[in-house]
């Protein structure tokens, strides 16, 4: 799985191997979220190529909707559909994109919600769920489509501190189950514990990358050192 040149972010070249958890850190405005959104073309790159699971998603005439359904995405603000229950949120794309019959879609939704610990909340509406529960439901919504890769855009930034743990636990379980993940986040402890690789971005370029132990203990660049010191204190 490779992400070719992403010229919009100036010469970014990342390869993500299957089952890898790549963690992207950097100050706000450094282009992390933009990079993530380019990966399923919610943001349109000016040039460059993005290849997911062997097929180019930047190619002319690429079937975006089919591709997106294999790339799960989790947002900072959850973006659950407020007019649908947790189950309804998970089932919508199953029914409309994959054309599954209602009963089957519901079974898949139940399984997906079970995986994130929300089996009993299937009929609850988003405004009846806590922030952490909402975010886990959003993860279930992406998971149900059996994505090859999951993109997390600051999944815990909008949560109260005591609710962050639940969401991180779900992400850790996904990692253990072999999911390929790209995570933009400020949760450094989680990065140290779960990430295979940490990428530090600033000003739209990759400043440095490496195993979390190396990057945090022994940053090579001044900008990385400043950033790591700031977030660790």
């Amino acid at each position: 799985m490779s992400y070719g040149d992403l010229e919009v972010l100036r010469g970014i070249d990342i390869d993500v191997v299957p089952s890898e958890l790549v963690f992207i850190i950097g100050p706000s405005g450094s282009g992390k979220s933009t990079l993530l959104r380019c990966c399923n073309r919610l943001e349109e790159p000016d040039s460059g190529e993005i290849i997911v699971d062997g097929s180019s998603i930047t190619a002319k005439g690429a079937d975006l909707n089919a591709i997106r359904q294999r790339i799960g995405m989790v947002f900072q603000s959850f973006n659950l559909y407020p007019h649908l229950s947790a189950g309804g949120n998970v089932m919508l794309a199953l029914r409309k994109v994959l054309g599954k019959p209602k009963a089957e879609a519901r079974q898949i939704a139940e399984a997906a919600l079970e995986r994130v610990g929300l089996a009993d909340k299937i009929d609850n509406y988003p405004n009846q769920l806590s922030g952490g529960q909402q975010q886990r439901a959003a993860i279930a919504r992406a998971l149900a489509l059996e994505p090859k890769i999951m993109l997390f855009d600051e999944p815990t930034s909008a949560l109260d501190p005591e609710l962050v743990g639940d969401v991180l636990n779900v992400m850790a379980e996904l990692k253990q189950a072999g999911m390929t993940m790209v995570v933009v986040s400020h949760e450094m402890r989680f990065a140290k514990a779960a990430a295979d690789r940490v990428i530090f971005m600033d000003g739209g370029v990759i400043v440095e990358q490496g195993a979390p132990a190396n990057l945090f203990a022994n940053p090579q660049h001044q900008r990385t050192r400043d950033f790591v010191r700031q977030v660790e204190h």
């Binding site: 909707n65 603000s77 973006n79 559909y81 919508l92 919504r141």
Partner: protein, 227 residues
């Protein structure tokens, strides 16, 4: 006759009432019928325009905006007179009924397009992104994710606007549509008595007071949605 008796005789004359009751009811029914047709066609047309506008094809959008502006800015009576008196001279005769329906439909479509469009814009961008990220197409997102949320926001203003435009069915009087106001004024002219006008006023109240209350109730229920 005392002053009071004369007043009753002029405005609440039982004989005149009995004579013209059927006519007034007929007029009321015609008013209801046109109102119903206008509400259905106007809102459907307006919704279609708003959905079309959301695709943001520039020439189409400019045409929609022009249409909406025209029907928001021109008095409906002006449009009614132009069509009713102008079209026959170019060999295209529409009945007063059809002209009234057509003009009010376009007016309601214009206003409801604006309301639906504002509703669509009010839905958070994250909703679009979340839906598109699961592989839903633009149209699927619009219909399944955005519209159900937009509709809630549009119901109070749409109700009030619909009531206001529906009352314009009274304009049919000017071009001879047999609606309530026309029947009431005709009866008043024939009988030389003001009782039919009173009956007309009461009929309007019977028809529209419940609707106004409905509008009030809906506005109240959805008040929490207002920003």
């Amino acid at each position: 006759m005392t002053q009071y008796e004369r007043f009753l005789d002029t405005f609440f004359n039982p004989e005149v009432m009995a004579n013209y009751f059927p006519k007034i009811v007929e007029g009321l029914l015609v008013t209801c019928q046109i109102a119903f047709l206008v509400v259905i066609s106007g809102i459907v047309f307006g919704l279609a325009l708003a959905l079309l506008r959301s695709y943001r094809w520039t020439p189409v959008n400019l045409a929609i905006i022009f249409f909406v502006d025209m029907f928001r800015a021109l008095p409906p009576l002006v449009l009614i007179l132009i069509l009713y008196f102008g079209l026959p001279n170019v060999g295209f005769t529409l009945s007063g009924y059809v002209v009234l329906w057509l003009v009010l439909t376009c007016v309601l479509a214009a206003f409801s397009e604006e309301i639906f469009w504002a509703g669509i814009l009010s839905v958070d961008k994250g909703q679009w992104m979340a839906s598109r990220s699961t592989g839903m197409s633009y149209t699927q997102t619009l219909l399944n994710v955005v519209m159900p949320q937009a509709i809630r926001l549009t119901i109070p203003p749409l109700t009030n606007r619909t009531i206001a435009i529906t009352k314009n069915t009274a304009l049919g009087m000017v071009i001879g549509v047999d609606e309530l106001l026309n029947e009431a004024t005709t009866a008043q002219a024939f009988s030389g008595n003001a009782t039919p006008l009173m009956m007309g006023a009461i009929a309007y109240l019977i028809l529209f007071v419940p609707v106004v209350y409905l509008g009030r109730y809906i506005e109240h229920r959805f008040a929490w949605r207002k920003v």
